[in-house]
Amino acid sequence: MRLRRFLRLWRIVAPLAVGACFLTLWEVVVRAENVPPYILPGPLAIAASLWTDGPSLLGSLLVTLRVTLAALAAAAIFGGAIALLFSLSRILELSLFPYAVILQVTPIVAIAPLIIIWVREPFLALLVCAWIVAFFPIVANTTVGLNSADRNLLALFRLYGASRGQVLRYLKLPTALPYFLAGLRISGGLALIGAVVAEFVAGTGGAETGLAFRILEAGYRLAIPRLFAALFLLSLTGIVIYLVLDGLSRVLLRHWHESALEEEEG
């Protein structure tokens, strides 16, 4: 019992201690070596920049976040729907799955310019780019999930004369849920990456500028502390997205799935 409480505490304290040590060392090295801030700013300079540029950076973050969340929602809906189609028709799966893989392995940086040319509406163009990056883990995972229903349970459903719809609703969808959620957690991070990459390629792309463009801009102007501040916000956003999706997954699976259960008592 005592050990467990200690471990729980350590889980929070240890990473914080490592972070604090790292930041201190960073600050000390920057000061001792007199590294100019346009090469490597110290953590204090970055914090100062975060404070002064914070409001405008937050506005940009909101733009990026909107693309990210829209792309993630689209990935969840369409990814889930595509997986469902695949599970209903083996022929469809066999003929279309390779193209989903091709879409996945093609670097988004390479196709983003095309998409930005083809899709006139900037928000939509960014959305499409982020979606392409984010949808695959959901499709792949959910497809596996839908196909991994317990064979004996399937036999049992057949024995009781279940329709295909019933098998899907009472057996396949619940079986696939943990797989879908695992895919969603991966896609959350990827949607953010996709949005950032698309913004890099698209530039300002309109009246509103996302965080990625602020990073580019800060780089051109050698405003490196601001670049770091934007980077920090971006990582923080990624972490928050992950935590939210992880929490969602825990809540939905809390009663039954291994991944959502606390360690065994006794």
């Binding site: 004996n152 019933q166 009472y170 039954w256 799935h257 259960l261």
Partner: protein
Amino acid sequence: MRAIGKRFRSGLSALEAIDLKIGRGEFLSLIGPSGCGKSTLLRIIAGLAEPSQGERDLLLPADRDRHTSPARVGFVFQDPTLMPWGTAFDNALLPFRIAGRVGPAERERVREEIRAVGLDGFEHAYPRQLSGGMRMRVSIARALVTDPDLLLLDEPFAALDEITRMALNDDLLRLWESRRTTVVFVTHSVFESVYLSTRIAVMTARPGRIAADLPVELPQPRGSALRTSPAYAAICATVSEELARAMTEGSQ
């Protein structure tokens, strides 16, 4: 009252010329070496697999309306085969859910059956919170809620420890004695088969054939006292002998 009979003459590579008639109210055990096709035979009886030759007839009493009884066959697998996302109650309710009838009567029926298998108070427990034996009890309750005419059990207790297994044997016996459902029980255990059955069919190794069809003439109702009786020991010895002979035959 007409007897229920099932007959197959199957020529699967796993099974050969099986001709088996099961009477109503019988507790038939199928025993044989692993891989002799016992489970395949059971799946054919259940209608989950088709015989490549021969036929399977299920002569069920006609006094039951198809609409009121979702399934006339109950099946218990070697694993409890429960849906981990549902409680014990949800799992036992499954046959009714599939039949599209989830009324108060069905709910009461499920509660009744959960009590009958000795899980009173565990309706809302998830499979993960239950022990192996308790999960198997849920599985049995699920098979029984529809009041099946035929209950098929595929080595249901093979994965359980000896003590749990004996307790479940006694409970299954009690359930059967109070209802007289026709039961086909696949097992590896001679003792288990003699203890439970009214009849034992010994099968040979692949291709599976019925090598011996032995009645078990032991008094009913049975209880754990039977386990030490000479008559029980004698039948166990006979079944073991037949099994040994069937195994040498199969390997030739």
